[in-house]
């Protein structure tokens, strides 16, 4: 089933809902959300802890299944996919960046970046080449053979970003990507995101940090599982990113 043609939104959600429990214990983590994200757009989702923003991100990325509603990505309905279909969707169409990095401790930086390509059935040579290219892109080619334990928090997150880009996804979903980073590492990361955005990548970032949100094209605020506000920023992230984020020198 397709919902939008070329030029339409890359993400489209209708009446998306995620509930836990039942009866009196019912909790609405995501409550009847409608959302569209345009190709190449950088969207920030904000809100207090427990408002449902991470759950929404999980639904958008196919990490979790919605209780109700419809979800399309690039015109393809994904909420009805089988477990295997969802895995393939995550493999090819989505790149995740997590607050806790979630790198495999026993693999080097390069091997971590190779993972998605290998999972996608690419040849080891292709996976290796792509990983080197991405590590170079995020400025870590010299740290390629280091284990995550030998990398700083910022470097780990850059490895995670490189990994998210390994299969050239249609959209990158980031869940509090700077939550475990200091200011300098946060700035590095924002510059990286800015570059990706400038290159036309679609970004959805869940964050607490208003300075991060300020770099997006659009900001949505959530409360109690629902959207309560939406702000479209004029000028987006072009210009002096550090100044926009309040961290410029």
């Amino acid at each position: 089933m397709t919902e939008s043609g070329p030029g339409g939104p890359i993400v489209r959600a209708r009446g998306l809902r995620k509930v836990y429990g039942k009866g009196e214990g019912l909790a609405r983590a995501v409550d009847d959300v409608d959302l569209e994200v345009a190709p190449g757009e950088a969207l920030a989702i904000m809100g207090p802890s427990g408002c449902g923003k991470s759950t929404l991100l999980h639904l958008l990325g196919g990490l979790d299944r919605a209780s109700a509603g419809e979800l399309w990505l690039a015109g393809r309905r994904v909420d009805r996919l089988s477990e295997r279909g969802l895995a393939q969707f995550r493999r090819h169409d989505v790149g995740f960046v997590f607050q806790a990095f979630h790198l495999m401790d026993e693999l080097t930086a390069q091997e971590n970046v190779e993972l998605p390509a290998l999972l996608a059935g690419r040849s080891p040579r292709h996976a290796r080449r792509r990983a080197r290219q991405l590590l170079d892109q995020v400025g870590l080619s010299e740290r390629a053979v280091h284990l995550p334990s030998a990398l700083s928090g910022g470097q780990r997150q850059r490895v995670a970003i490189a990994r998210a880009l390994a299969n050239e996804p249609r959209i990158v979903l980031a869940d509090e990507p700077t939550g475990n980073l200091d200011s300098a590492a946060t700035l590095e990361l924002l510059r990286l995101f800015d570059g990706l955005h400038a290159a036309g990548l679609t970004l959805v970032v869940v964050t607490h940090d208003e300075r991060i949100a300020a770099t997006a094209d659009r900001t949505i605020s959530m409360r109690d599982g629902a959207f309560v506000d939406e702000t479209r920023l004029v000028g987006g992230t072009s210009g002096n990113l550090g100044d926009l984020a309040g961290m410029g020198g």
């Binding site: 979790d64 995550r90 495999m104």
Partner: protein, 628 residues
């Protein structure tokens, strides 16, 4: 190709990173496969070579026959198909005394010159001389005899001139079983235990006694004059032995049967053995070992499954995030399951190879033919079928323990796995109600058991298998003691039985393996419980419980989990023993009670250290970690 590389890479790195756990897994499976390999190695041809070596070295006969008259023996010696013979030699029953021990013997009178057929090969000392006897080597070992010792035979003193081996008789303690054909009258005259046509020679024991079993008669050689000198009016000379070489040795069974059948109904008919029958009796030492190893392999396999299940369960808990990550970046359930299975299957295959090699190297120790024969069996061949069976066992062990957790992990929530959310424990309202009336350690222990029923089940299975093994071993020891004491009652002797000795040696080794694996299992299960209960333990302490109460609770949890295993293990062990040893007597109830109590106490003792370590973790750190 890429997926294969990924699976292999993750497996290899994980093994490197958790070498201790991987080693334990390999050890558990290798113990089971090595035991199975040894059991399989004890079949067929392994014991054949030493008998044939001995047979060649001693000019062993194709047929040995016993008659009540020398004339009958001579007649057979010149029958058609006989190429050569020695004898007839007089055979006299006697009682031997040495160093406070006594036993029944058959003394065969021989000339000083070597016989044409059956020349016992001296392994020490010299051949018979007036006043000097030669003792068969297994019997000499059982009595503790050496060349130069003095023994008493029917009250007369003799020197032990030499020690020898022969291929014409089955070795002590199975001498009687070497004779395959004997009349009912002959057999019943000799033994209460085997009143059949088979396996009993017709010699009487001194004083007209009968054997309670078909064992425990030794073989000696002495000069003909000395042998005849042992006879008396009460113990007359009634038996002559003749050793035959046939023109066609392979026809020995048919030759023996054809000569036996026409006289089978006569009250004093002959008793006839053939070399194949003797060979099979020589192999009995090894075959008995097989009877021990087969159930041991089963027990160790079950224990290996329990070990691997505990390890895999614990590792899955550790790798929840890894599973979540694999799924988040697009790993399908089958890839996630394959990653986990591959690692354990590779380890299982490695363990199978280790077990095959270890079993193959260790097999000669138990295929050693014993003192009755010369030469060694060497390393027994491992057939492709046996290798496949051993590898199959390893794979079954790994799959049995891994498949369900792997599938469960691959199908679980990705988000929960990424957040490393432990599976919510089960709530058992009734147990919680009951436990609220108990002292703090019992309350905590009972609730820990209730929250993880699968782990408690595994713990119970582990203990059940261990108890099964221990009870089976105890039952065998009791059986061996009864058998030996029965022999002692008859012979008054106190001789050691090489078959039982070897079985007990193997059982001791298997028991050590069993207990060591069970101990490791217990430690791992306890540590898994400690880690799982760290939040609850920290909370208990935050609410005022002392560390000792918490550690006692952890011990209670382990002992409670073990209790059903002990209860089930006792009848299972008895059943296993009954299946392996037909008609064996059971150990005293006090032994079984001691085994049950000992197992529980050992469990509690093994739990103390991990429980105390677990109960002393910093409260704030644990609670804040769990909350994150």
């Amino acid at each position: 190709m890429g997926t294969v590389l990924l699976v292999v890479r993750l497996a290899v790195r994980d093994v490197r990173r958790h070498a201790a756990q991987a080693t334990l897994l390999v050890v558990a499976i290798a113990a089971a496969t090595a035991t199975l390999t040894m059991g399989l190695a004890l079949t067929g041809e392994t014991s054949r070579s030493p008998y044939l070596t001995t047979r060649a070295a001693t000019k062993g006969p194709d047929v040995v026959a016993y008659f009540t008259s020398a004339a009958q023996a001579n007649k057979l010696a010149h029958a058609r198909g006989v190429a050569n013979h020695s004898g007839p030699f007089p055979v006299v029953s006697a009682t031997i005394h040495f160093d406070g021990r006594q036993a029944d013997v058959f003394a065969e009178g021989r000339a000083a010159a070597p016989a044409a057929v059956d020349r016992p090969l001296l392994t020490a000392g010299s051949w018979v001389r007036p006043g000097g006897v030669v003792v068969e080597r297994t019997f000499a070992d059982a009595l503790g005899l050496s060349a130069g010792d003095r023994v008493s035979l029917n009250g007369k003193s003799f020197a032990v001139a030499g020690i020898a081996v022969t291929a014409a008789q089955a070795p002590y303690p199975n001498l009687c079983n070497g004779t395959l054909l004997a009349t009912t009258a002959t057999a019943s005259k000799f033994s209460n235990a085997c009143p059949s046509f088979f396996k009993i020679p017709f010699l009487s024991l001194p004083g007209g006694r009968k054997l309670a079993s078909s064992d425990e008669v030794g073989q000696i050689w002495m000069t003909t004059a000395d042998a005849v000198g042992l006879t008396s009016r009460a113990n007359p000379l009634t038996t002559y032995a003749v050793n035959l070489k046939l023109t066609k040795p392979d026809d020995a069974p048919a030759f023996a049967y054809d000569r036996f059948l026409p006289v089978a109904s006569q009250p004093a008919g002959p008793a006839i053995s053939n070399w194949e029958g003797l060979e099979s009796q020589d192999a009995r030492l090894v075959q008995d070992g097989q009877g021990v190893l087969a159930p041991a392999a089963l027990i160790l396999s079950l224990l290996a499954i329990a070990s691997v299940a505990v390890l895999v369960g614990r590792r899955l808990a550790q790798y929840a995030r890894r599973v979540g990550l694999l799924k988040a970046i697009g790993g399908t359930p089958s890839v996630v399951a394959a990653t986990f299975l591959a690692e354990n299957l590779v380890l299982a295959l490695f363990a199978a190879v280790v077990g095959l090699v270890a079993g193959w190297l260790a097999a000669p120790l138990i295929t050693n033919p014993g003192a009755a024969l010369i030469g060694s069996a060497g390393a027994p061949p491992i057939s492709p079928g046996s290798a496949a069976e051993v590898i199959g066992l390893a794979i079954v062990v790994a799959l049995a323990a891994t498949l369900v957790p792997a599938i469960r992990a691959s199908r679980g929530s990705t988000v929960a796995a990424l957040n490393d959310v432990a599976r919510p424990p089960k709530r058992r309202g009734a147990l919680i109600l009951i436990s609220s009336k108990l002292p703090t350690p019992a309350l905590f222990g009972l609730r820990l058991v209730a929250r993880r029923p699968r782990r408690s089940l595994l713990s119970a299975a582990n203990v059940a298998v261990t108890t099964t093994g221990i009870v089976a071993v105890l039952a065998f020891h009791a059986y061996a003691d009864n058998t030996l004491s029965g022999a002692i009652a008859l012979t008054g002797g106190g001789l050691s039985n090489p078959v039982v000795n070897r079985d007990e040696q193997m059982l001791t080794i298997i028991t050590i393996m069993l207990v060591a694996l069970a101990a490791l299992n217990t430690l791992f299960t306890t540590w898994a419980t400690v880690l799982d209960a760290r939040h609850a333990a920290a909370l208990m302490r935050a609410l005022g419980a002392r560390s000792r109460q918490v550690s006692s609770g952890l011990i209670v949890a382990q002992v409670l989990g073990a209790l059903p295993g002990v209860i089930i293990g006792i009848p299972l062990g008895i059943g296993l023993f009954k299946a392996a040893v037909h008609g064996g007597t059971l150990p005293p109830v006090s032994w079984l009670a001691a085994a049950a109590l000992g197992t529980l106490l050992a469990m509690a003792a093994l739990t103390i250290v991990p429980a105390r370590l677990g109960a002393r973790q910093p409260i704030a750190e644990v609670l804040s970690t769990e909350a994150a």
